[in-house]
Symmetry: none
DNA sequence: AATGAATGAGAGTTCATTCAT
DNA sequence: TATGAATGAACTCTCATTCAT
């Protein structure tokens, strides 16, 4: 059965990717060596090249994998929510949770030389997809009159960048759980900021 | 006469630091080589070692330099303001401006292996200093009853991380000037979030 | 099968060590470069690092190897001799032969910064072992009344240093064979010096 | 006055040489850097090149200087002695003392790449001079019938190499003074070895 | 004469990648 | 397919020496 082969191959790829993710928690992608990955994944160094053309491709797969997961989870956790305010709360909570799970995500996003790697195609597309999902939530809120009517793109970017900043900070300095009052305060602030004045505005 | 020498030496150090800053706009500190710096600063590679013990020391100086500048500017631009709301507005605007000038700042902060370098002492102290400056603004606002009375540390961290996130995003994706409506919207959101309800809350 | 691998690896290590030994005949360990060793051993420079952690480790292995060989040979060639006088003659002859084979031995011993390298443990232990072997011969001679009864340590050190001095000189300036009358004269002198007066004394 | 200049220049050369001698007590000539010498001699590195063409020339001067001193002292301390046995005793004692004062002497002699440096001329001539002095003592002993009649060159080399070996060992491992019984034993052994049998032989 | 500054050449070491089995 | 071995290229850093004042 060809399928069996295929499945095993995929599983070995996956374990190399996971080993790399582990390492990314401690080091930047530039200081991770193929030796590190080999040791961590329990393969011989040369074997890794049977599954990935080179270090760059491996890294790209690692990065696009978590972007894909992120998009999937956002769809699952937020888009089901019909209330835009609740959907937005869920998104922010999710973002914090997610970055706690993959703290290297924003670091990589901040430093990976996307431009140099033709692969932009793939990664940038995923970034766009995420953006569209968030934009969807906001738009719904605007349509039903809950959210302020500023430029959609502006609002989307703001939400994403600001949540990212907070989540990154949170994952770096705070070990406490997700029930922390800090989070609730942050979420309220954001929601208040984009909600048509509970007061007025 | 000695002073002249000293000044010239300092100016050469400075030009190496500036060349490094240039390079940090394009690459991470790990992928910048001493050759890059040599070419960029128009010195022979070996000459750089007359001014900095090694790559690490050079990088540390680059990083601590901008942290120092940042602290100075915050003092200058914000602490003079007696109105806490205005001081906070100034801080956020400044942060955006600053990160646009030094976009590599947050990237370095996110990826530099501070732990490994005993130099924490110096850099962490500077981080603390910045935090204290912001905390000072917030505290004044709380004392005079303008800002909400949440935990000071929580509020401070939130402001810093969120402004950083936004500024980072802004410097990465937006080339437009600082009059952009996005900025105003962001600032209002934050201010609204920490101000004792103009409405209620 | 594993054993085969192991054996081949060992043989490659050995050939690097031998190349280094060759070079030590012409240069000091400090002026031998990894490039020299690479060329001499017909490996790429980088390959050497698969067999030795660094230059220091390689050198240490070279040095301890000949000390081990020396100790083995002394045991084999001298300790079997029951007559202490003959054993001592054998030792001195052997020392000359040995230093002719490895002329860099005493030079290294004289200049290698053992103190700096924690490895003292290993090398100094080997030096001690050699000393004990010679001391053994002398002690036997003292016990059976042939050798003078001076302090054992004093005698041992004298024999070793003096033989070393002679052998070193011999290997540097004399190319002739081991039947040279110089050697016989040297040996007689030493033996006479430590033997209880054939005449009196 | 030209002479005054000349004298000062000479005195500065001398202080650089002395600084180098200091350093040779701790390191090999290969691992001593011009920076080391500069610091040790309290000159700027570039200034050293006003007194010595290059590192090699400086080292050669250091080495030939002590050889000259050695020759002078041998003449002074031994050749005045009319009794050959006493002259030889004096020489050996002197050698030990001298090597204690300049322990790096034999190390340099063992490792300096004389062949490569055309300067052999000078250094080898000095070695020869020393040899002739010792040979002179022995010859006198042979003529007056005290020393054995072996080949003069053989005897000379033996005495020199063996005394060197002992002195080197003594200076490395023994800190005690020159009255040590080890020295007396060594000297007796040598004298006994080259003296026409007090017993017979 | 004295020296701070500058540097080419080269040292040891590492790393992503390929080769050979 | 899996991997031990091999390596070119590149990196950080050092050093003897020269330059410019």
């Amino acid at each position: 059965m060809r399928a069996r082969h295929e499945r095993e191959r995929e599983s070995r790829r996956e374990s190399i990717i996971e080993a790399t993710e582990q390492l990314l928690n401690e080091k930047t992608f530039e200081s991770i060596t193929m030796d590190d990955i080999a040791i961590s994944s329990d393969f011989a160094k040369a074997s890794i090249y049977q599954y990935f053309k080179n270090k760059e491709e491996l890294m790209m797969e690692v990065f696009s994998k978590i972007l894909e997961i992120e998009c999937h989870l956002i769809e699952e956790k937020c888009l089901s929510q019909t209330d835009p305010v609740q959907a937005m709360r869920n998104f922010i909570k999710f973002e914090i949770e997610f970055i706690r799970r993959y703290p290297w995500g924003p670091k990589v996003a901040a430093t990976f030389p996307f431009r140099d790697y033709h692969a932009e195609s793939c990664l940038l597309a995923l970034y766009d997809q995420k953006k569209k999902l968030i934009a969807g939530i906001i738009q719904r809120g605007q349509t039903e009159g809950t959210f302020i009517t500023s430029d959609l793109d502006v609002l989307t970017n703001m939400i994403i960048s600001v949540s990212g900043g907070f989540a990154n900070y949170f994952s770096t300095f705070i070990s406490s759980d997700l029930q922390s009052p800090e989070i609730e305060m942050f979420i309220s602030t954001i929601i208040k900021g984009i909600t048509k004045g509970s007061s007025d505005e």
